[in-house]
Symmetry: none
Subunit: 155 residues, 2 copies
Amino acid sequence: MTLSDAIETHLRDLLAYQGEVELKRSDLSDYFACAPSQINYVLTTRFSVERGYQVESRRGEGGYIRLRRLNCPDLPELLESLVRFEGQLGQAEAEALIGRLEEGGLLAGRVARMLRRAVDRRVLAVPLPERDLLRYRLLTEMLAAYLATVGGERR
Amino acid sequence: MTLSDAIETHLRDLLAYQGEVELKRSDLSDYFACAPSQINYVLTTRFSVERGYQVESRRGEGGYIRLRRLNCPDLPELLESLVRFEGQLGQAEAEALIGRLEEGGLLAGRVARMLRRAVDRRVLAVPLPERDLLRYRLLTEMLAAYLATVGGERR
DNA sequence: GCTTCGTTGACTAATCCTGATCTATTGTAT
DNA sequence: ATACAATAGATCAGGATTAGTCAACGAAGC
């Protein structure tokens, strides 16, 4: 049981009650008597979209970290299938994925159209291999945000 | 809840009653027991044009600050107004725009949430200044794709 | 041993808030 | 009409307060 595991467990416990939790990074690092950056490590390794979580944050006075548990029947398989892309996604693969979701009725036509624009290499316009990494992050985060529900309620 | 948030809330409440509010900066800063310049900070960060507000003011004897809500832009106006960003867009500005379009009923809640993820600096995760350029391209392209009407019909 | 995972600390970045100083507008005395 | 004083908002640099990034090093598991 590492420190990271302990922090993960703690956060999961909090999330079990509410689908969303807000906290201060410094409070958490004080509580676990660790470096503040340790919190970031846990967040990126254990609370990623692939695992069904989303993280928001703000710096400065009144800063916070907000954790959300994603809730969507179709999301797990979807993200599971993304894992094999290993964090990278080519344009063709992205378009194929969007097409399948649209046919499956999970994406409205306008939304699908918008997503296709977003994964276009001319719109992203950053050199490879960063482009495929960016496309992966973008699409997974956007799909999660669009498809997920929180607390069993459609947002 | 920071001081800025409190001031923002207060002003929003006032605006909810009347579409236009006139007040003295010094009164407000007295009321919140803060520096007068704090009011300016709130005005520029929370009541910007991107967020759909217009601010007028006069100095000297009889000076005042007048706050007004603007109507939600349609796609042509929107694209026109984006020009002034010169191909770059910060996260705060992007979020302001998305919020305004959402309030105006042009973006559904889920779509707005999705777009907010897309403009998040942690999702884009490319170094500045490329990040602001990328954000601009992404948002304009996606909004155009989503809001566009073809043959008078929403696609 | 080598590779992966966990942990830390030094540096970076965003956000809020204030105070000193500047500018615009009006009032008043000559 | 002009000059000066008084009033009130604007601007800007910088300090304070958070959170993020990254490289390095150590620990744990093959």
